[in-house]
Symmetry: C2
Subunit: 401 residues, 2 copies
């Protein structure tokens, strides 16, 4: 199941990155930095959880006032959440101190935190780590940066695309962290996407929303939504392409490549779900609308009983039908068709004679497919999920994440 | 964790019951019958799942036309769901055949099924079993009936209350099945409640709704909602009390006792959650409204990460705050207080100095308490849940339920 990113890590023009062990965590890298030589247009989406971590509260305000960004600082080990005024001050202090080190304004520094909730930050190792962190910035530091943001992840997550916009090469590169607590409702993990494209803020905002709908908002690991989830895109314009603005061919090319990077990253997050052994693609067709299809897809992808059945390789399609029905979306089960790994088990409202019996082994591969056609309309949606194994329970029962 | 019902099984006047092994399942009892000497006023609530089993479709129509009932037939092993026209015919055939055996009309027989989804009924053993089932009807048959409706349950569930209505003794007795796939949104299991009270239909309907809100709709085991969930109350009037109608003291006494029986049964269902080792009471206070409080309570009670933390005895109150925030209800985390098993970990927006550290063992008993005060208003709600252990995953991965 564990799959290292096969992408070569290439940063877009003008970006540098670094990741070090500053000592907030016992061993692994715990402090990451992304730096751009030129100011970046930035768009971001944040968790919808009512309980928001200090850096999320700060980040929302920063993006709202359309700050242009030069650097992103991420610590792992402590989420700086439920830490009140002191948490906000600590977050501001991180931005200030890094800005000082880099000769920037604090408002140009974006901060994120991930790790345990409800403990005050141990600021000493972080502040002490800023100097060596800045000193180690390099074009090849993206892997270190990707390592520094992960917590319970099994592998680093990086994806890159190069493409042409009217004769100019543009690069998009993203890093992410995921594992437990992944749920749609926006963000639901950390992802930082860098590009050298020239693009206006409104177009970047719109593109990010649409790419999120089919990537980070179409995955689920355990149905929990975190307090720190953040997706940030920064564009520094150093590719020198003709400005991407509004709709049109260039915007569409950019959107496709941004979506591809984000789908790569969100796919890696699901594949790396805590304790997961299988990667599940839930494909819903024939719903009345896309919205209906997405609701059904999420309900199936999120069902604990479906995840258990798939972990056990059991074609228990009754659980799939039941979880589709539990979505609240209205459809006629008498028209439904259910296909698992290309074998039809239920066709137009009837169990298929001769289909494998419940408890026969199916889902033998690592990648499994669940397809449901509701035969009610043109709506369709895809959702990605992973199975749940005893390892997930053990990981989350005995270790604080 | 397993706790046998300590109630003495007493049936209300005029009720008989039976439960036998007819052969639909390999070994355990699989066919149950409740019979009333006099016609019963009946109220019921059913699953809101779009995918409804054949007996649920039949039952909804029966209750809608205000049928008076004389008998309830329940088979376990097959849910008769996703079985189309043939399923509806099989269900009707069960009612017809039993009615014939008992000298009733088919419309006076209520039918339920529980078990696997998506397989046609094996009618032979059921139809053959009706004669011996009827022959074994007795006043003391309620335990057998309670045994005949369970599937993966660890113990039978029966609860009883005797009380006075204006000088007349009235009895309410209920049996239920639960275990996996328990989620609010109505019913979420099977429950049959018998009473000899004289009560009018409207008052019975209203009382059932209000008692369900604090019992079967306030529990969760794994967040899945079944296709067959049914709560049925039957009143045969044989206690001869002054008719209970509208509001007033008698209606309130009846409501309290019905709610007590239903709380007993729903509590047993949670305690018997598949693989569960702890019984969790989530108590939310200080929400703006009861509805808000219930949403927050459900979100906390349903969170996989919270359930895992409690299984491991870890006071990871950050997960509790996060799951409260994920409910979508708006509140100020800066005013929140979180108490676990009577120890305050977070008070009015601040971690409590000196509180047990995350990963210290808490939740040592079988019954654990999670209390959250939002300090936003008068709304409060209680939700019951159980922890999740590796045993749940094993049970549901390798056996079809």
């Amino acid at each position: 199941m564990k799959k290292k990113s096969s992408e070569t890590a290439i940063l877009p023009a003008g970006f540098l990155a670094a990741g070090i062990h500053c000592g907030a965590k016992r061993k692994r890298k715990d402090l990451s930095l992304i730096y751009s030589e030129k100011p970046c247009t930035a768009s971001a989406l944040f968790t919808r959880n009512t309980v928001k971590a200090a850096p999320v509260i700060r980040g929302i305000a920063q993006i709202k006032r359309k700050a242009s960004l030069r650097a992103v600082l991420v610590n792992s080990g402590n989420a700086n959440c439920m830490t009140g005024e002191r948490g906000l001050k600590d977050c501001e202090k991180m931005a200030d101190s890094l800005a000082h080190e880099l000769g920037l304004k604090a408002g140009e520094v974006f901060v994120s935190s991930t790790g345990i909730i409800g403990q005050y930050m141990n600021m000493k190792p972080i502040l002490k780590g800023l100097k060596p962190l800045v000193e180690s910035l390099s074009r090849s530091g993206v892997e270190d940066a990707a390592d520094g943001i992960i917590t319970t992840d099994g592998f680093r997550k990086i994806s890159s695309r190069k493409f042409m916009i009217k004769g100019r090469q543009v690069t998009i590169t993203g890093i992410a962290k995921g594992a437990g607590m992944i749920k749609p409702e926006m963000a639901t993990m950390l992802a930082y996407i860098m590009t050298d494209a020239v693009i206006d803020k409104r177009t970047l905002d719109k593109t990010l929303s649409s790419a999120t709908d089919i990537s980070f908002n179409a995955i689920t690991v355990d149905g929990d939504m975190s307090t720190n989830d953040t997706v940030l895109v920064m564009a520094n314009g150093m590719a020198g392409n003709e400005r991407i603005s509004g709709a049109g061919v260039s915007a569409e090319v950019f959107r496709k490549n941004l979506a591809a990077v984000m789908e790569d990253l969100s796919g890696m997050i699901v594949r790396d779900g805590e304790g997961a052994s299988k990667f599940i693609k839930v494909n819903i067709t024939g719903a009345r609308t896309h919205k209906d299809a997405k609701k059904v897809a999420e309900s199936v992808a999120d069902s604990l009983l479906v995840k258990c059945a798939i972990a056990g390789g059991d074609p228990n399609w009754g659980r799939i039908a039941s979880s589709a029905g539990a979505s609240g979306v209205k459809f006629d089960p008498g028209k439904m068709t259910i296909k698992l790994d290309n074998e039809v088990f239920f066709r137009k409202g009837k169990p298929v004679p001769g289909a494998k019996r419940i408890n026969s082994p199916v889902f033998k591969g690592r990648d499994v497919k669940v397809e449901v056609d509701l035969a009610e309309g043109p709506g369709k949606a895809v959702f990605y999920s992973c199975d749940i194994t005893t390892k997930y329970i053990t990981l989350n029962s005995f270790y604080t994440t």
